[in-house]
Amino acid sequence: MKNFLFNTLKSLTLHELLRGMSLTLRYFFSKKITIQYPEQKTPQSPRFRGLHALRRYPNGEERCIACKLCEAVCPAMAITIESEQREDNTRRTTRYDIDLTKCIFCGFCEESCPVDSIVETRQFEYHGEERGDLLYTKEMLLEVGKKYEKQIAKDRKQESKFR
């Protein structure tokens, strides 16, 4: 009975509601944590998994040896590879397509690659305007690799001691 009276009186003073409101009022004046995207960006990890790239060795030879491990491991089956024997008897790809609309950016292809050829860059601001724009071919992937090679090499080197 005593408890009942106490609880009734307490709820009539709106004590708990006022405490909740004081909390939200405190937050009203607190520092805002919004990141205003195009001008400000969140820091990126060197392990960031963004747009794919195919790398070349410093002498210009492409790294990919068409072992097709990435194609096999890809859970979304986004990678298609065809290969041939080149004149110098090495095996190279004739076709290396990644369908970015299928890709789930898990990074398995990069993990499986024995020659660090296929990598995921930090690039995430890209888009396609027509159907098929996000189907990246070998030439496009090599182009990406050429463009960001410095950053890619730096990130791989930094992470190499943990792999």
Binding site: L23, L25, Y27, K32, I33, T34
Partner: protein, 340 residues
């Protein structure tokens, strides 16, 4: 203004025309404040959640409500195939019309009122009650189970809280001895100590909570309840028809706030005797009260439906009745002056 127009126009025309101008002078600022209330709602709730809120369209996002309105204007109005077309389009009109019509009797300043009628308070109550038809008809005409559930909920809720709200206003009537809104404000002359929110403090709180429930705002927004019944009564509406419901909700919010200010916070009266009275006091107080609406929405989770009914019928109605009896009894004692 009528005299001025009579020089140029036929007398009957002049009166009509003068009233039309006055109506525009009320409706357009109301519409603009509705638009900016939505903007401030998003900003205030954003701030309370450590966010910034809309700040891209125009300076500090000040053009955001205009962009939103334009977007809604250009959207297609979708008509559900098995709905009742006539009622489907009548419903938004039925909810916006009373929300705007009630403004006719609101006194903004001394003698600054469109229709100075004696039963102003009753008129306002009647108008806010009609608004429930818009919600019910919208829910029924949509021919959708979510819309129907939402409209049933809000009908029961609005009817229950209407009673508690009416009782709180009885307290004000007893103090002011008048149903005329202007006279109620004049009775609170003489600074902050004379406002009715002090002798009628419990009624003021109950009025305000009932007002939140009346306008279907959080934490009493079971009519919409987007996590339970999608969007409640306006789930089938789109484009301008949806915008009308939105307008009505916010116009009602401003209306109940202005009523709270008129009846409990001294309307256009200045809180300090050394400062002049004026419409700016009314606007400042209304903005203050409206902030509470946004503050509530940022703070409280939605009530469960049976808790809403319990609060309305078992708590508010008995409490208001007790306080009315208390005020009536006090008026027979030596302390009567504190209650006038």
């Amino acid at each position: 203004m009528e005299e001025f127009l009579k020089q140029y126009l036929d007398p009957t025309f002049a009166i009509t025309f003068a009233y039309l101008i006055k109506i525009f002078c009320i409706v357009i600022p109301v519409m603009i404040s509705v638009a900016y209330l939505t903007y401030f709602e998003r900003r205030v709730i954003g701030f309370m959640q450590s966010r910034i809120g809309p700040n891209r369209v125009g300076f500090f996002g000040l053009l955001q409500p205009i962009a939103d309105a334009l977007k809604l204007l250009f959207k297609e109005i979708i008509l559900p195939e098995k709905s009742n077309n006539f009622l489907f389009f009548l419903a938004p009109l039925l909810s916006i019309a009373p929300a705007l019509a009630a403004w006719a009797v609101i006194p903004f300043d001394f003698e600054m009122v469109l229709a100075d009628i004696n039963a102003g308070l009753l008129y306002v109550l009647a108008m806010t009650s009609i608004a429930v038809y818009g919600v019910i008809i919208a829910g029924w005409a949509s021919n959708s189970k979510y819309a129907f559930l939402g409209s049933l909920r809000s009908a029961a809720q609005i009817v229950s809280y209407e009673i508690a709200m009416g009782f709180t206003l009885v307290g004000v009537l007893m103090c002011a001895n008048s149903l005329n809104l202007g006279e109620i404000v004049m009775a609170q002359q003489g600074g902050i100590s004379q406002w009715y929110c002090w002798p009628l403090f419990p009624l003021f709180i109950i009025y305000f909570i009932s007002a939140v429930a009346e306008t279907n705002r959080a934490p009493f927004d079971v009519a919409e309840g987007e996590s339970e019944i999608v969007a409640g009564f306006h789930v089938e509406y789109s484009g301008m028809a949806f915008a009308l419901f939105f307008l009505a909700e916010y116009a009602n919010m401003i209306l109940v706030s202005i009523l709270a200010v008129i009846m409990f916070l001294g309307g256009w009266m200045s809180p300090f005797s050394f400062m002049p009275d004026g419409i700016f006091w009314l606007l400042a107080k209304v903005a203050f009260v409206l902030f509470f609406f946004l503050w509530f929405r940022a703070t409280f989770p939605r009530y469960r439906y049976d808790q809403i009914m319990r609060l309305g019928w078992k708590v508010f109605i008995p409490l208001t009745l007790i306080w009315i009896v208390f005020v009536g009894a006090m008026m027979q004692t030596d302390y009567a002056e504190y209650f006038h």
